[in-house]
Symmetry: C2
Subunit: 360 residues, 2 copies
DNA sequence: TTGTAGGCGTTATCAA
DNA sequence: TTGATAACGCCTACAA
């Protein structure tokens, strides 16, 4: 009853050769339909579930499994809408291609030498991962596609963070509300930035001038650059003390930062947020302080997560097509597994989505 | 350069035995610290990444990988907040225990004989899965824990859907707004139900009397029973034509159903929704129709997803602790992998969370 | 269409 | 500590 079943055992029971059973599972054309059927039903009855994946993949050098390595913790990634959408896109393509998905977190990796990275036929890496880990997974010699990060020696899928940030900041500086405000008093627009993972410090705090040139995360740095560039084009002054650092993209930290930003004596009339989660929190805080959005303070987001369109007011944001990004990355990886294609760097388009938190 | 590296090769290069290298990776106590260190750095330099998982797991009969099989498509599951929260809880415990997570969708499974289920050391099954697939994964003889479904031969983690539904319906029927309405006109409360996956038909439609006794999904059926039981306890009449079926838990279908329900001539003053997503959509539709929530129509949800507390008004709902459910299921599975424990059926408590969509 | 044998990379055992 | 060797379960020439 508890006996281990394998091809040999099954073949013995059925009175056929082991090769035939193997063929029944993998190459239906190598034997008669009738025999195949008999083998399938019989082995099912016997309790044989099918070829063991470990053995098969050892033998064939391929597992049909694709690894997805997340820079943030696995658990956090499930709670983050952007990561979830990326995973959604990846999953879509993998399922289409009958691949399974193994989730790896860079945390686990560093903790132990899990060696689990040796199983997948290829890897999608999301976000910024410690150089050491990068080197280690490179060593396995399997195709790798990285997302939201750029490194010359790997294929990658990115969006143009800087131009996206520029576009939305420019919109905020030049829309009708801003124009009117500028007319009313001569002052320039008072603008603050709620930034994500700009510096290493794991808490909500303002930046110092030094931090401006001290990029921690490519992605955040690029968005910051875009904002600042737009600001200087439109004579808006943004000093370091008007830029907040939020260590993790969740409502808890975002609300703390938003409260700080909105309760300073020279309250901003434009609040540029580096994610929709931050923007949603900022709207909530603004409302709780009795401020009207957008009349008193205009708020912009980034990402275009589903909730951004459902909230009230809707969040003006940059759509970065996270689902599509996932699809593209997955396709790219599958292609390079097939053809051993050369490394390429894709940049997806972004799009300004205007809603009521920072209207036309 | 492109040569394949394995233990043998590395051992040869280092001039030590293959067993020693293996020990260096797996049993540090079997050799001198100094030697181990040399082996580790040298093999890293050589480009050896660590023991191959396929081979190791073939040899050891365990892979350190836990499979999670989702009844809905993988891609959908990432977009569903409840599934995401469950995964979040599972991931938390798995990472703690240095296990990796392999995502399987029952779709892929039926499509092919992926045999990927043979790799994991155990399986968490979420939701209702075709009997045939169930039988197949049972055959692999590894520990299984099912979530949100009950079958006597498997360990399971559930919540008490029926009592939860009863509690929230009772609240809706007996709170101050309902009392006042009942006083004003003598009529009983006009109540509709927006149900989830109640029948097989893949579209939004009303139920017929027959459908009441024709359970498709355990979970939805139990919630329906809870609602109906509360209704009959409080002299509220709910006929089949006041119950809608929503085939997939997303905003698209939910809005269609909500619109239908709220635009009937005898508009309900209480709308019981089987998920928060449905409730959120219903609130949106109600607003767009110029109805006040809760004054004109009280709306309840189920699940308590994060967005339910952020929306305006907040959604009155049943908290089902999805994250905790994931944690519990994962722990249960890991335990039964270790101890081969007997099957047990856990039922987590639910809690009524009162917010403004159906206030005190 | 069927049977045989070699080897994929590890780990465990056992003797040195 | 080390070195040899036998599985683990499977796939695929190759020969029949």
């Amino acid at each position: 009853m508890k006996k281990k079943l394998n091809l040999t055992e099954v073949a013995k029971h059925l009175g056929v050769s082991i090769a035939t059973v193997s063929n029944a599972f993998n190459r239906p054309d190598q034997l008669s339909e009738k025999l195949r059927e008999r083998i399938m039903t019989e082995s099912a009855k016997l309790g044989y579930h099918g070829p063991n994946l470990a053995a098969r993949s050892l033998r064939m050098g391929a597992s049909g499994i694709i690894g997805v390595m997340l820079s943030d913790s696995l658990s956090y990634s499930f709670s983050d809408p952007v990561a979830s959408q990326l995973l959604q896109g990846i999953a879509e393509v993998l399922v289409e291609n009958q691949k399974q998905m193994l989730l790896l977190s860079s945390d686990v990796h560093t903790a132990e030498q899990s060696s689990a990275e040796s199983l997948p036929d290829g890897l999608i890496v999301y976000g910024t991962i410690p150089t050491k880990t990068m080197e280690q997974i490179q060593r396995i010699g399997k195709p790798i596609v990285i997302v939201d990060y750029q490194a010359s020696n790997f294929s990658s899928v990115n969006i143009d963070n800087q131009s996206g940030a520029y576009a939305i900041a420019e919109h905020a500086f030049t829309n009708s509300i801003s124009k009117q405000k500028l007319q009313e008093d001569d002052d320039s627009l008072n603008t603050s930035i709620l930034g994500l993972k700009l510096i290493e410090i794991p808490r909500v705090c303002r930046l110092t001038e030094d931090d401006f040139n001290n990029p921690l995360r490519q992605l955040s740095q690029l968005r910051l650059n875009g904002y600042l560039e737009a600001a200087s084009s439109h004579n808006v002054e943004i000093t370091a003390e008007k830029v907040w650092n939020i260590p993790i993209n969740n409502h808890h930290y975002a609300e703390i930062a938003a409260r700080e930003a909105l309760m300073t004596s020279d309250r901003p009339s434009v609040l540029l947020c580096m994610s929709d989660i931050i923007a949603l929190s900022a709207v909530k805080v603004a409302k709780s302080l009795g401020l009207r959005v957008p009349e008193d303070v205009q708020i912009t987001g980034f990402d275009d997560i589903p909730e951004a369109s459902r909230s009230e007011p809707g969040i003006t944001t940059i759509c970065q097509q996270s689902i599509e990004k996932g699809r593209v990355a997955a396709r790219m990886l599958l292609d390079s597994i097939k053809d051993d294609a050369e490394t390429q760097h894709l940049k997806l388009a972004t799009r300004l989505v205007i809603r009521n938190s920072c209207p036309q």
